[in-house]
């Protein structure tokens, strides 16, 4: 007995075993490298490297028809704050972000609460979800005519009031952004509602029953029980919609193709316009850097909020 034990635990054998273990681990790691290599290479070359190059290019004077000859320091960034377009685009982007957070959530929550216990719920869900499958370009093309002077909205207004009405919703400075946001809400409300319905379904019935028996009103139950338990879902939806609010491009570009001040509609549009309609590639990359910093900062703040909410629930 004693001899076997000492034999098993002898330092040589232990070292050998450990070495073999390490060899196996290394062999597995090497195999694992083969499995992850395609993903790492593709993401590295086509997504991460461009971000780095984008930052470098933003300090140059690269334009259409001119070579990449010299560095320009911060001149692209100085230009951002010198022209009025940037601050207008920034203002409209802020408007978009707030709209993209609040409106889909408010509309979808109302719909979700109405549809919660209803017959044909699946049919309604599919109907409201369908626009999300359509391309923003296609949705934009249809809504371009919905808002046109002789379009759908005006003809409904004319039909109701009895007077001809031909307001240009996407030609007017005051209505262009809200109009496109309405289309955005039309397209995203379905997915937001489906996610909220999932969140609502996960809320336990017992505390709600207990509160009802104790005489709580529907409003109190919603405020004190449903809403806190729904908050994590609300945050997930918010995170999804905030990114869209910052970077919506297709809808704006297609719907506002006739709007003279198109470039100021959002930072994403301004970036595209300056880079690819005006050929100011380096300037466009500077706008993209500013947009990127804002998106990452807001996403980080929301992720922090999310982790706090989740901690407070557990």
């Amino acid at each position: 007995m004693a001899t076997t034990a000492s034999l098993l635990l002898s330092p040589d054998i232990l070292k050998d075993a450990r070495r073999r273990e390490r060899r196996v681990a290394w062999r597995q790691t090497r195999t694992a490298w083969l499995f992850i290599a395609p993903a790492v290479v593709m993401v590295g070359v086509f997504l991460l490297l461009p971000v780095l190059v984008n930052v470098i290019l933003s300090f140059t004077k690269w334009q259409k028809f001119t070579g990449l000859d010299k560095f320009a320091g911060f001149s692209n960034y100085q230009r951002l704050f010198a022209v009025p377009y940037f601050s207008e685009a920034l203002y409209n982007t802020a408007f978009w972000v707030v709209g993209a957070i609040v409106l889909p959530l408010a509309v979808a929550l109302t719909l979700a609460l109405l549809l919660r216990n209803i017959a044909f719920q699946e049919t309604f869900k599919s109907l409201y979800f369908l626009p999300k499958v359509l391309a923003p370009t296609a949705v934009g093309a249809v809504w371009y005519y919905v808002y046109a002077p002789h379009g759908v909205i005006n003809s409904i207004v004319a039909g109701v009031t009895g007077h001809p009405f031909d307001f240009g919703w996407i030609y007017d400075d005051n209505t262009v952004t809200p109009s496109v946001i309405v289309t955005f809400v039309w397209q995203t409300v379905g997915i937001t509602m489906v996610l909220l319905l999932l969140g609502l379904a996960a809320i336990p019935k017992d505390p709600i029953e207990a509160a009802r028996v104790d005489g709580a009103s529907s409003g109190q139950i919603f405020r004190h029980i449903v809403w806190p338990l729904l908050l994590p879902t609300v945050l997930v939806v918010t995170i999804l919609n905030v990114a869209a609010g910052f970077t919506t491009f297709d809808l704006l570009w297609v719907m506002a193709s006739d709007y003279p001040g198109k470039r100021t509609l959002s930072l994403a549009v301004y970036m595209y316009y300056e880079s690819f309609s005006n050929g100011g590639w380096a300037y466009g990359s500077a706008i993209a850097v500013v947009l990127g910093i804002m998106v990452i900062a807001v996403s980080a703040a929301l992720a922090w909020l999310q982790s706090r909410v989740e901690k407070s629930i557990r």
């Binding site: 790691t29 993401v43 391309a135 093309a141 249809v142 491009f249 595209y272």
Partner: protein, 295 residues
């Protein structure tokens, strides 16, 4: 009231409460829902009446009036199809969506396998590297990709678009698959390894079949994303033979378009057919795919 099941009044009250609780909501709630839904569907109604109108008919009639005949639809399709070269654009987009979508999910699955099933040293670090690819807005890729593609000579090529779409579609499926692979019992692949199966074999015949639902859902999401893309294609591939169907659609629309709304709307309908069909046939997987995104 004390809990006393021998008291008939108490039992009656319990039954009444239970009925109240499980009673379906009244009919009155259906009315607002139906009204809201009708308003919501007006753009679809507009789309379907418009594709059956001729351009003069569209100009003369009210936009929501019914068309006088269904025949103009064929002419609208032919016009939209030939002017926008929808056959070529559709074929390009279909190739991008099918190949890049499938390839991206496959690459992501392999990487997720490597990170969760093999003893990869530094697995979390590698994951973070790929996850970083989802943090930046697409606007940060555009100018550098134009720069690089010009230099490499793959601007306006299928190859360039296939590579880019594949890369863009890797991080999200990886995020999801990493979770679903972790949920598969370790015993099956240990058993297979003891039997002498290679890691590749374990991946193909043990793990992938067990994650069939998420794999299909993820492929659908990526297919739809690529089919619907306007941004990348409009910059990196806008030639007739390589441009995506959304760039073709956009070329019909807007200020310089002399086409009637009926033709543009018909092109919109045609370009949406593939994704809508996929949605109708595979609705279950689409809905599952959504839930994947929030976990």
């Amino acid at each position: 009231m004390p809990v006393d099941l021998s008291n008939p009044a108490f039992v009656q009250k319990l039954i009444a409460e239970e009925r109240h609780r499980t009673r379906p909501p009244g009919r009155w709630i259906l009315l607002p829902i139906i009204l809201v839904t009708i308003a919501y569907l007006i753009p679809f109604y507009y789309l379907f009446v418009t594709v059956f109108k001729t351009t003069p008919e569209y100009a003369q009639k009210g936009v929501l009036e019914l068309p006088s005949s269904l025949a103009p639809f064929i002419d609208n399709v032919v016009q939209a199809w030939t002017i926008a070269h929808l056959d070529q654009a559709g074929f390009s987009s279909f190739t991008y969506a099918l190949c890049s979508g499938a390839l991206a999910v496959a690459i992501a699955a392999a990487a997720a396998f490597g990170m969760t099933r093999l003893n990869l040293i530094g697995a979390n670090g590698w994951f973070m590297v790929i996850f970083t690819g989802t943090l930046f807005p697409f606007q940060m890729y555009l100018v550098p990709l134009l720069f690089g593609y010009q230099r490499l000579g793959i601007i306006n090529t299928w190859l360039g678009m296939l590579l880019l779409y594949t890369a863009v579609c890797i991080p999200f499926p990886l995020l999801v698959l990493r979770n679903s692979f972790s949920g598969i019992s370790r015993e099956i692949d240990e058993a297979a390894r003891i039997e002498g199966a290679s890691e590749w074999r374990v991946f193909i015949s043990m793990i992938l079949p067990n994650a069939r639902g998420p794999l299909i859902a993820l492929f659908l999401l990526q297919f739809t994303f690529i089919w619907n893309d306007l941004l990348f294609s409009s910059i990196l591939a806008n030639g007739i033979g390589v441009r995506s169907v959304m760039v073709a659609l956009q070329s019909l629309q807007g200020t310089y378009s002399t086409l009637g709304p009926n033709v543009v709307i018909t092109a919109t309908l045609i370009s949406s057919v593939p994704t809508v069909l996929l949605f109708i046939i595979l609705r279950k997987y689409f809905m599952a795919g959504l839930q994947l995104g929030t976990k």
